[in-house]
């Protein structure tokens, strides 16, 4: 080896060890579900938001990891006295990833598209109260509402309300162009999506230079991928039974947080005998929530007594009103004229909370005399039969949308709860902007549906993630389905 070669080799070696000491700037994050496409404004799939929310696309407001609503592309806003006119002041100097300027017209375009007649926005209801959206100047937008809306800033923070550009809307499903801290780089369908740091980002530059989302649907394969360190983190880890193994391993950290997913034993309120409130009350007392959490979720999950997230400051703990008491359940059934019990259907969608939980609930119901015929359904079938066809007695499903107690005001919604007082209360709540009064109304709403035993309220789904111990800044909670990487970094 000549001297020159030797020095080259030595300096190369120094270079390699040098870079090894600098903190890593790329990350591979495992996700269970692959998004069907990358437009968060035209599909309900949480998998889309998991990749693009806050990373690629931003809205006027955005969710923080604690569920708070913070300024996003709108730096501030003024609300008129009557609560009908909202003036948003946009951040200046923001560019879309294709180099075009972000201006008020983009906001007008995005919101008009979402609320249009032929809109395919999965959460179109979020935009229902909007009367008009106007660009005052390049950086000011005026939104006029038909009625005051205390939820408006919250609604605008959803992934379905992000700002898109008319220039790139045609190809948004495969080449998303947003204003976020990361730009879309590559998608190997069925395998992975890569995003890279946006050098022109208007806000604080992220620590990561690139991130790869890898899609691994099989729980055992997910476990293997983390163990073999093929992925640096796994957001929404699908195998709770294995978390103890990661906790015991110093290479990993386990993040247990909250989600917006109320897991409920949905009950067809129009179908006899569930149209009898006594029967629904009996159902509530027949269920041992902790046994379901332990058996189906390996202990992860918080018992709930109503359709509301326990980490929300307005949450009221109503689990006491439906405590596990099989004797009381039998007595209530007898009172309702079903001393010998009855038979009903229990239709279960694919997630393990439903399939495992369903077996446990079936056993608990059998104990008080209610026989269930269990049918396992795929999601598409479930949507067709249960959700749209309303052909079911009982089903188990997690409602993952944030602050979705409003579904109880829709009598045509699949569990068919029709209570005029509750519907009026929800209308009042939407129009109310005073925080104290809103809290009070939200509490009343929770008590109403709990007191009517509309559904069996089981538990709040936990957000479970596993990550390399050296990673910081990952969201433990999931206030919306997102994997916000803007604040994520390696510690050394």
């Amino acid at each position: 080896m000549s001297l020159r070669k030797l020095t080259t080799a030595v300096s190369m070696a120094a270079l390699i060890t040098g870079t090894a000491h600098a903190a890593q700037t790329d990350i591979t994050v495992g996700l269970q579900l692959e998004p069907p496409h990358l437009d968060p404004t035209s599909a309900a799939a949480g998998a889309i938001d998991q990749v693009v929310y806050s990373n690629i696309f931003e809205g006027l407001t955005r969710f923080g990891s604690d569920g708070s609503v913070n300024p996003g592309l709108a730096s501030s806003w003024d609300i008129s006295e009557d609560g009908l006119t909202w003036t948003f002041h946009l951040v200046e100097g923001v560019k879309f990833h294709d180099g075009t300027d972000f201006e008020a017209t983009d906001v007008v375009f995005s919101l008009d598209r979402a609320r249009a007649e032929d809109s395919v926005n999965a959460q179109k209801a979020l935009f229902e109260g909007i009367e008009s959206v106007d660009a005052v100047d390049a950086h000011t937008v005026k939104i006029t509402l038909s009625a005051p809306n205390g939820n408006f800033l919250f609604n605008l923070a959803w992934g379905d309300a992000v700002i898109v550009a008319p220039e790139s809307i045609e190809t948004i499903t495969t080449k998303p162009v947003g204003t976020g801290a990361f730009t879309f780089a590559n998608w190997v369908q069925g395998d992975a999506i890569t995003i890279t740091r946006n050098a022109d980002y208007w806000g604080d530059a992220p620590a990561l230079e690139s991130a790869t989302f890898k899609f691994i649907s099989e729980p055992s394969a997910a476990f293997n991928a983390v163990m073999a360190e093929d992925v640096d983190a796994f957001s929404g880890f699908p195998a709770p039974e294995n978390l103890a193994l990661f906790e015991a391993d110093p290479r990993f950290q386990v993040l247990v947080g909250s989600t917006e997913g109320e897991t409920i034993l949905s009950t067809n309120n129009k179908m006899p005998p569930f149209d009898n409130v006594k029967v629904r009350e009996a159902l509530a007392h027949a269920i041992d929530r902790q046994a379901i959490i332990d058996g189906a979720m390996f202990g992860f999950g918080t018992p709930i007594g109503t359709h509301f997230a326990p980490h929300n400051p307005d949450y009221v703990d109503l689990t006491g009103g439906s405590e596990y008491d099989p004797d009381k359940a039998r007595a209530l059934l007898a009172e309702a004229g079903f001393a010998d019990g009855f038979t009903t259907t229990l239709k279960l969608p694919p997630p393990s909370y439903a399939r495992r939980g369903g077996e446990i609930i079936a056993a608990q119901l059998r104990d008080v005399g209610i026989e269930t015929e269990i049918t396992n359904l795929e999601w598409a079938q479930w949507l067709e039969e249960v959700f749209r066809g309303k052909d079911f007695g009982l089903t188990i499903v997690s409602h993952t949308e944030p602050f979705d107690i409003g579904i109880y005001a829709r009598p045509e919604y699949y569990f068919q709860y029709d209570n005029a007082d509750f519907q009026a209360l929800m209308d009042d709540l939407t129009a109310e902007t005073d925080p104290a009064k809103r809290s009070e109304m939200v509490a009343t709403a929770q008590k109403t549906i709990s007191g009517d035993y509309v559904n069996g309220y089981l538990f709040q789904l936990a957000s479970l993630s596993v990550a390399n111990a050296k990673i910081q800044g990952l969201w433990a909670n999931a206030p919306t389905q997102a994997t916000d990487l803007t604040g994520v970094s390696w510690t050394d």
């Binding site: 496409h37 799939a45 069925g190 395998d191 099989e218 293997n224 991928a225 795929e378 598409a380 749209r388």
Partner: protein, 315 residues
């Protein structure tokens, strides 16, 4: 001969039409709507209707069938409902994994099965034969996904020689890509090799007891010469038939192995498309597979015709 070819060709076309009808109706009968799947449980009915309109689902079944078929004739497999990309692109992206994986697995299984089968047949009753029979018995019995998981635990998690799964793409280099396919190929090859070795053994044993083998021996050929020149060639015909069948299976049938190793192959594509009610993808992929099988059969028919003049003449 021309008449024979035309007859075969006619049969091929009829099979294709029948297959397309069966596939289309079977898939469309399945309950579930792609639009409502996409929009989830907060969607309003009018939004679902708007999406159905956009996806072209609001036309009659017959109209959709004809659009699909005429599209395919022109080489257009349609656009996926959920991914919104051309189905043909999706298929070719998956093919670059599924096809090499199937070939890799088949090569491995042949390399294992041929020597094992030959040794077992020529030394019938020996220790070698008994052990081949024992091991292949196990190979058929062991579920390949279990074996795959076992390999992941040993080679990926404990020894760290391989990744636990995934595919880096051919851009990452030939060896990196082949390395990623190695554990899945072994898992797929194990049961196939076991079956193949057993078929090889029994077929060779049958051939070895034929009269012409005795004649060959009598005319002074050694055991080895008889085996290589006469027995093996004749014994190979049923073996090749099995290999052909296995290849068709491996192309899309390795779905469980694809799941274990999270490989984005053809099997996963079909599975995903079915759960998402991406009907057009299911229909087109299945149709393509049917076409491949029918085409292979057609070629085989032609080859038979060439080889055996009697087939040509019989009507």
């Amino acid at each position: 001969m021309l008449r024979y070819i035309l007859k075969r060709l006619q049969a091929l076309l009829i099979s294709l039409v029948v297959a397309s009808l069966v596939i289309f109706s079977a898939v469309e009968i399945v309950p579930g709507d792609p639009a409502s799947f996409m929009l989830g449980i907060n969607a309003q009915e009018d939004t679902i209707m708007a999406l159905r309109e956009q996806l072209g689902l609001n036309v009659s079944l017959t109209q959709r069938y004809f659009t699909w078929v005429t599209g395919m004739i022109q080489g257009d497999f349609g656009t996926s409902y959920t991914y919104r990309t051309p189905v043909s692109d999706m298929i070719s992206e998956r093919m670059v994994i599924s096809l090499p994986l199937a070939i890799y697995a088949l090569t491995l299984s042949t390399l294992i099965a041929f020597p094992a089968g030959i040794i077992a047949a020529t030394r019938r009753g020996s220790v070698a034969d008994v052990s081949v029979m024992g091991v292949t018995q196990l190979g058929v019995a062991i579920p390949n996904f279990w074996f795959a998981m076992l390999m992941v635990v040993v080679f990926a998690i404990n020894l760290r020689w391989f990744s636990a799964g995934g595919f880096p793409g051919w851009d990452a280099g030939f060896f990196a890509a082949m390395k990623a396919l190695t554990l899945p190929a072994i898992a797929l090859a194990l049961p196939q090799a076991s079956i193949l070795a057993r078929v090889m053994r029994s077929s060779l044993l049958d051939t070895l007891s034929e009269d012409f083998i005795r004649t060959a021996r009598a005319k002074g050929l050694t055991r080895r010469q008889t085996l290589w020149r006469h027995a093996l060639r004749n014994a190979l015909i049923p073996v090749l038939t099995i290999i052909g069948l296995q290849f068709a299976f491996l192309l899309a049938g390795g779905i469980i192995i694809e799941k274990v190793f999270f490989l984005p192959g053809l099997g996963q594509l079909i599975f995903q498309a079915i759960t998402q009610r991406d009907l057009i993808v299911v229909e087109s992929v299945v149709m393509l597979l049917v076409f491949a099988v029918i085409l292979v059969n057609f070629t085989v028919d032609l080859a038979y015709g060439l080889a055996d003049p009697r087939l040509r003449r019989s009507r």
